[in-house]
């Protein structure tokens, strides 16, 4: 197996982890990973060295964005998964980290996951998202602020009615 395939192969577990957190759905996550791998293999003959891992994250991030667009287009009938419940106990009456991530817009969520879950640098995230580092930092700040207020019990999506 060539260097390119080895690099891809060693990235698969991390891609699954990232996709799982992005989609919060085991099947959808593996679908995106599979799609990412297929696309990567398709351009194997163009590979001349470089950071395959960051490139794979870029493909996966783009595919997830397309998926979200597609989801808003058609209704989805998905079985309710209890996998979220087993892998981490929800805190404070269902206000768990998974739901907090769900509340975020796609870009802040992506930035946060790439930094805290995947351990990428701000610079790498900026390249993946195609934005300046300052934008990555403001996305990160927004994500952290929203998660904090969500876990603290505020519901930013709902307005209190007097």
């Amino acid at each position: 197996m060539g260097e390119f395939r080895q690099q891809i192969e060693s990235a698969i577990p991390a891609l699954r982890r990232y996709a799982r957190a992005l989609t919060r759905d085991v099947e959808a996550a593996d679908d995106i990973v599979q799609d990412t791998l297929v696309r990567a293999l398709r351009s194997e003959h163009l590979f001349h060295g470089g950071d395959v891992r960051a490139w794979l994250y870029t493909i996966l991030t783009n595919l997830n964005r397309n998926r979200l667009r597609g989801l808003s287009r058609r209704p989805v009938l998905a079985p309710i998964k209890d996998s979220d419940a087993v892998s981490g106990a929800p805190e404070s009456g269902g206000r768990d980290i998974g739901r907090a991530l769900d509340e975020l817009a796609e870009e802040p969520r992506t930035a946060l996951l790439l930094v805290v879950l995947e351990g990428l640098t701000y610079r790498e995230v900026a390249e993946i998202q195609g934005v300046p580092i300052g934008t990555v930092m403001s996305r990160l700040a927004r994500a952290r602020m929203q998660i904090r207020s969500y876990l603290d019990g505020e519901r930013p999506a709902l307005r209190r009615v007097k």
Binding site: R17, L37, N66, E91, I97
Partner: protein, 262 residues
């Protein structure tokens, strides 16, 4: 190293948590946190968020790989799928601007059909609701500020409801509808003789366009994009009349002009 530290920015706090802070600033940030409990609490909260995320999803990397993700299988499957055409297309995309260019092209190809989808959905909605006597809208036209607020929030960007009284059209009201890219705002207008026109607006990544005309059997539509907002004005197939109304709506929705209505 200074005795009296300059203010520590929020960016530096994030960088500190993420291990991106230059070593020479660590001392300053730590000193700051020791004397600023609010910031110390934020930093602690961010760290605990990261822990929760890693605890919840970290395990996915250790799970046994399903067969469909085995690279050797995927590569074998690819062997017989790879055609010269695909290779040429990929190569062309790379030559045109690297991997980023390739994906940008993908996205563009996907969204340029927004025009067709928006118009088709808008005309469907028009045909469906224009014949409705009792419940043509969810929120009546006399609740204009509420409509603007509600639909802007759902659509995800500011929605403007043009005033078309000069064209003899009264706002019947509006409703929320599903559209090609998510939530869309739908407004209905009516003239004195009961002719109805509808305006359908939703977010798009399409580039800005001027008015484009599409005609169906008995009805027609004008489509345009302004600042990521796709709008379709539908009505009876009388091109000149429809154009005049679409032009008036277009002028008012134009985000570069001063806000009106709402």
């Amino acid at each position: 190293m200074t005795e009296r530290d300059p203010i520590v920015s929020e960016d530096e706090l994030h960088a500190y948590v993420d291990g991106e802070l230059p070593a020479e600033r660590r001392g300053a940030v730590e000193a700051w946190l020791a004397t600023h409990p609010d910031d110390a609490a934020r930093v602690a909260a961010w760290r605990s968020q990261a822990e929760l995320i890693r605890a919840r999803y970290g395990g996915a990397a250790d799970e046994k790989l399903p067969r469909r993700l085995e690279l050797a299988r995927l590569a074998r499957r690819r062997q017989w799928r790879l055609t010269a055409m695909v290779a040429a297309a990929v190569l062309a995309a790379f030559v045109a601007g690297g991997a980023a260019g390739w994906f940008a092209r993908d996205a563009e190809g996907a969204s340029s059909s927004d025009l067709r989808k928006f118009t088709a959905d808008a005309l469907d909605a028009y045909r469906l609701y224009v014949v409705e006597v009792r419940h043509p809208v969810e929120v009546a036209g006399d609740e204009r500020p509420h409509l603007v607020q509600w639909l802007s929030k759902r659509v995800g960007s500011p929605v403007r409801i043009p005033e078309l009284d000069k064209m003899g059209l009264k706002l019947v009201g509006g409703r929320l509808l599903p559209g090609p890219t998510g939530a869309t705002a739908f407004f209905m207008y009516e003239n004195g003789s009961g002719e109805r026109f509808t305006l359908y607006c939703g977010q798009t990544d399409d580039r800005e366009t001027a008015l484009r005309y599409t005609t169906g059997d008995h009805n027609a539509a004008y489509y345009w994009v302004d600042h990521n907002m796709a709008c379709v004005l539908s009505g009876p197939a009388e091109r000149d009349k429809l154009h005049a109304i679409a032009q008036a709506a277009y002028d008012q929705i134009d985000t570069r002009s001063s806000p009106r209505g709402g």
